[in-house]
Symmetry: D2
Subunit: 344 residues, 4 copies
C-alpha cells in the first residue's frame, strides 16, 4: 500500500527500504531537498516531496502519514501538516514519543476525524534486515487498515524459534507486531521495553566490569586509615579475556541475548572498549518508565539504578560526592585521597 | 573418552546422556542403587557404580571424575574419593562451587599430584538438546586433555549466528566452552554470569510488573492524608496482554533473549503466573558476585538490587519495614494503613 | 497578628495553639461544627467560623488565610474561598502540596491580585513544643508581611547549638524558617526534605534489620541445591539488644539524629516493634523528589531505593517476583521453596 | 585507672586527653620518639614508652592496653606485644577492625589467658569535647573491670535529651557506652553503625544535589535525538541558597541530625564545596556491612547504593559505562555525546 513518511534519517530510510522491497509505495519528505534526491537515488523512497503540503497532496485518501522525527519535533510537524489533511486520514507516530502526548494528540486529531496511531518501533539500525518489533496503540479498525505496513516491517515468525503452544493462540504477536491497546498503549509498551533495555544493559555492564577488575589483587596497595585494603588479593589474580567470555556466553548459557551478541561484536573489535569514554546518554523512555512505575507504586530498583548509572556516567553525581567528602572532613578530618585508579 | 560422574540428578543425567550420544563412556554413581539402575536402563550412563571407591576402580588411569553435587557436598565427596585416586587423576567440579573453594581444593589436591578443574556449567534442564555453556578453570594441559568432553557438552558454533570477524580469531569461545584461566577462573566467570542473570531477570520482572499495573487508574482511590492519590488516572487505563507482549518482544526488538523466550513460554501457559507465589530463592552465586564486586571496589547497583529483591520476596525486609512504620508513628502519629492491594 | 486557619486536624490545631500562646489571633474553620466548638474550648483557636465565607468575613483586610488541608483538597478549598477574598489578601498553603500546583495556583490568584504563599512545614505532632521548620515560597514583601507568624511558629535559634560563624551571616535560617525563593520554592525544598527523610529512615531501618538478624547462625539450615547455606554461622551468633543500641547511638556517635531519638523511644516501648505490620505508606513528596531528580538528571539511588522499599512493603513487587520464579522454573525446573522465615 | 595506649594519632591523642582530664593515668606509645615527647608536653599522655615492651613494663598487672592503630596493623602489633603480656592482662582494640578478626584474635589470646575486648568507637575528631560512643564486645567481667575507662570516654547521659521511660530501665546505653555481647559484638555493632552512616550521608548528599540543580531550567538545551529535553523548564528556575537550607533544617524538622549540623558548618565556609573534588573514600565497615547483610539474607538497597556511589565517585564505574556506550553504538549507531555539564 501507499505510505507517506516524514523524517528519513538512518532509521526512517531503512524502514522505507524494507517496505519498498516488499512492494509498497513510499512518498518521502525530509527538510533538505538534496537528501530527498539521494533517497530517491538509493531506492529508499518511491517518490519525493518538497514540503509537507506537497507530501499530503501526493498521497491518495485515506492518507497514511508515518512520522519518524525526534519526539520534540512531533507537535510542530503535526501543526504544519494538519491543515492539509482530510477526515479519515491517518497519522502514525513511529518515533519515541511520550505516551501522554499520544493521548493528547489522538484526542485533538479525533475532533477533526483524523486518526492517530502510536507505534513504538524497536530494531535500531539493524531493522532493515532483522525487521522491526512494532508496539501499536490506536483504534482497532485503523490499526487493521495498516496491517500490510506493519506485517511487512515486522520480522515475521521465522525470526525466532516458535514458542511451543503458540500455534494454538494465533494473533500477530509472534510475527513481531501487536496492537497493544488504545492510543498511547503502543508507546507505553515501548517505553517499558526501553526501561527493561536499560536494566539489561546495565546488568551486563556491571558484570563485565567485575570481570575487568578480576586482576585487582595484582596491584600494590598501601596501608592507610583511609582505604580498606584488599584483604584477600589472592582471589583477584585473573587476567580474563573479555571478548572471549562475551562470545562464550552466547551459546548454551542462560544469559544469551541480542544485546550480548552486540557486546561480543563490539569487544571483538575493541577488547578494552577504549574507543568509548563512557558518557552514556539516555533519551527519555528510561525516565518515563520510572515515572510510570512510581505512579503505579511499582518498585523498580533495578531499572532506576540503571538510569542513575547513566546520569552518574555524565558526572551528575559530582555535587553529591562533594557533600559526602565535606561531611567526612567535618567529622573525621578526612582529606580526600587522590587515588589514581589502578590500570586494569 | 571415559568419564566418571558423581551426582546424576536432573542436570547430571542429561549431561551424561549428551556425552553417551556422542560416543563417550560414562561410569555413574549416585547414592541410591535403584536410581543407578534406572539411569542404566534409560541410557544415561554406560556403567553403574555401587560406591565411590567402586566408581574409581571402574575407571582407567588417568581417571577423570566429574562431580555434579550440591556445592555444600563437594568437600565431603572429595574426602571420600580422594584416598582411592592416584597421581595424575583429574577431579572436575561441575557444580556451583564458590571459586574460593576451588583455589583451596586445587592446592590441596596438587600436593597429592591430583589435578582439579572447576567448570561453571550453564544450561539448566535444556542442556541435553541445547548444549552446555562451560566456563573452565585449571591447568592448561589438563583442560586440553579433557577437550573431547568439553567440546561434546558445549553447544557448538552453530548454536548462534557467528559474530562477524570471529572466524579470524579462532579458539573455543564460539563453540560455547572456554578455558578462562587458572583454578577458580571457571567458577569466577560462572559466578558473575549468574550475577548478570539475576540482574537481567529482575529487569524483565520489573518491566512486566509496570505493564501488569498499567490499569491502575481504573481502581477507585479514596483521598486521605496517608496515601498519595494517583494524580493522573487517565494515563493508567490499559489492560495489556502480557503473554502477547512477551512473545512480541522476542522478534526484532533490542531486548530479545533466551530468558525472554522462557518468559513468553511460561506466560503462554499461565498468563497471570498465578501458579507461583513469588518467593524467589537464590543459590549463592548472586551473593558471591556482590562480594567480589565490593572487594574490587566495583559499583553494582543493578546486580545488588536484583539480589535484594529476592530477599524481600522472602519477607526478609519485614523488620526494617516495621522500623519505618514505627518512626512514622512517632513523628507524625501515622497509623499503618491496612491497604489491600487492588486486583490487577 | 490575625490569621485564619482552614483545616485544624492534629497538626493544624497544634500550630494554632502555638500562635495563640504567643499572642496571635486565630480564626479557625473546620467542617464539623462540634469540632470548632471543641477547638474553641481547648484554646486552639480564638474564634470559630461556620463556613469558609464566614471565616473570610471575620478577618480584617488584607486577610491572611492559612490552609492546612490534604494536598488533594486544596484546589476545592481555594475554589470555594476565592470569590469571597479581596485584592491584597493572602492565601498560604501550609500542607504538602506538589510545587507544580503552587506555581499554577499562584499564577491564577495573581490575576485577581491575591497573593499566594507556599509553606513546607516540618515538625509533625511535636511542633507545638519543638516549633515548626518552615520552608517558604512567594513574593518577598508578602513573605515579610507574614514574618510575625513564621517567626512564632519556628523553633527559634536556641533549638540547636549555633553553627560557628553563623552569627556573622544573619538571616532567618537559624531561627528555623526561610524564604527559599519564588512560589513553589517552599514546597520544592520541603519535597526534597521529605525525600531525604525517606532515605535516612531507610538507612536506619536496614541497619537495624542487620542487627536484628545477627543471630542467624543459631538457626539450623538444611542443605539443598535451592538455598545458599550460611557458610559461616559462627559469625552470626549475637542476640543484640536493639532498644539499648538505638539509645546508645544517640550520644557521641556520628549518626545521632532526631529520627534516631524517635526510634529509641519506639523500641523502648516495643523492643521488637511487634505492634507494627510493616506496611509503610508514602504520601507524595518522596515520589515527587524522584521525579524532580530525574528531570534534572540527578542520580538518586538511595532516595529511590527508600521509596521502592515502601512499595515492596505493601506487596507491589508481587507480580515481579512471580515472573522471576516462573523464569527459574522454566530454565532450571526450580520449584519455589516454601521457606518459613526463621524466628529472629 | 591506668591504661596503656598504642597509637596516638588525632583520635587516640584526644581520647587520652579526655581520660587524663578525669584523673586516669595514660602510658602512651607511638613509633616516633619525638611524637611521644610532644604528647607528653601537650598533656595527652601521663608517661611515654619507647617501645611496646617498654609500654608493657610500665603498666601494673592486670594490664590494660588499648590499641588505636589502623585495622591492617592490629595483627602485627599484637604479635609484637603478646610475648610481653601476662595471663590476666587485657588487650582492647578500639580501632575499626573487622569483627571476624576479633573472634579469631580473642580465641588466640584466650589460649594464653589474655583477655580481648573489641570496642567500636564513634566520635571522630570531636570526641574530646563531645565524648565517644562506645560499642563493646567481650567477656562480661573484663568489660566491667574497664568500666571506669568506658564511662569516662562516653558522653554521659546529659549529652542528649533523656528518652521518656529510660529512667526505669537503667543500664549504660544512655551514658553512651554499651556491652553489646561476646567478642566481635562491639565491632559488629560499630560496623553496622558505619553502614548506616554511609546511607544517611548519601541521603543528604542526593537531596542537596537535587536542590543544587533546581535551576536546571535556566540552561538552554538543544533538541536532538540523543538527549531527553527538559520538558518542563519552568519548574526548575530556583536559585536556592544551600547553606541557608542546611541551617534551616537543623531546627524543628524531621531530618535534624549531627551530620546535618556538620553539613551546615561546611557549607557556611564553602557554599559550593568547591574545595572538594568529590572522590569519596570508604574504609571497610561499609563493605563489611553489606557482606553481613548478604550472609543474613537481609536486603540493604539503601546502604549498598550509598557504598556504590563512593566507588563511582572514584571512577570505578568507568568500564561498565564504556560497555553501555558500546552497546548503544552497536544497536543504534549512537555516538557518545560530549556533554559538558551545565554550570550549576
Amino acid at each position: 500500500m501507499q505510505l507517506g513518511i516524514v523524517g528519513l534519517g538512518r532509521m526512517g530510510a531503512f524502514m522505507a527500504q524494507r517496505l519498498i522491497r516488499k512492494g509498497h509505495t513510499i512518498v518521502g519528505y525530509v527538510r533538505h531537498a538534496e537528501r530527498v534526491q539521494a533517497l530517491l537515488k538509493e531506492g529508499s523512497i518511491t517518490e519525493g516531496a518538497t514540503s509537507l503540503p506537497d507530501l499530503v497532496q501526493k498521497l491518495s485518501t485515506p492518507r497514511a502519514v508515518w512520522l519518524m522525527v525526534p519526539a520534540a519535533s512531533v507537535d510542530a510537524t503535526l501543526e504544519t501538516i494538519l491543515p492539509h489533511l482530510a477526515p479519515g486520514d491517518i497519522v502514525i507516530d513511529g518515533g519515541n514519543s511520550y505516551y501522554h502526548d499520544d493521548i493528547r494528540r489522538a484526542a485533538a486529531l479525533k475532533s477533526k476525524n483524523i486518526h492517530y496511531v502510536d507505534v513504538g518501533t524497536s530494531g535500531g539500525v539493524w531493522g532493515l534486515e532483522r525487521g522491526y518489533c512494532l508496539m501499536i496503540g490506536g483504534e482497532k479498525e485503523v490499526v487493521q487498515h495498516l496491517d500490510p505496513i506493519f506485517s511487512t516491517l515486522a520480522p515475521g515468525v521465522d525470526a525466532a524459534v516458535r514458542t511451543p503452544g503458540r500455534e494454538q493462540i494465533g494473533g500477530t504477536a509472534e510475527q513481531g507486531y501487536l496492537h497493544c491497546g488504545p492510543n498511547g498503549a503502543g508507546h507505553f509498551v515501548k517505553m517499558v521495553h526501553n526501561g527493561i533495555e536499560y536494566g539489561v544493559m546495565a546488568a551486563y555492564a556491571e558484570g563485565l566490569n567485575i570481570l575487568h577488575h578480576a586482576n585487582a589483587g595484582k596491584h600494590q596497595q598501601e596501608i592507610d586509615a583511609e582505604t580498606a585494603p584488599l584483604s584477600n588479593p589472592e582471589y583477584y589474580q585473573y587476567d580474563l579475556n573479555l571478548p572471549d567470555i562475551a562470545e562464550l556466553w552466547r551459546r548454551g548459557s542462560v544469559i544469551g541475548s541480542w544485546l550480548l551478541d552486540l557486546t561480543a561484536h563490539a569487544m571483538l573489535k575493541n577488547p578494552d572498549l577504549g574507543n568509548f569514554q563512557g558518557r552514556v546518554s539516555d533519551s527519555g523512555e528510561g525516565r518515563w518508565t520510572i515515572a510510570a512505575a512510581i505512579d503505579e507504586s511499582v518498585p523498580v530498583p533495578v531499572l532506576s539504578s540503571a538510569l542513575f548509572e547513566r546520569f552518574s556516567s555524565r558526572d551528575k553525581d559530582e555535587f553529591a560526592n562533594r557533600v559526602m567528602s565535606a561531611m567526612r572532613f567535618e567529622f573525621g578530618g578526612h582529606l580526600e585521597k587522590d587515588e589514581t585508579p589502578p590500570p586494569a
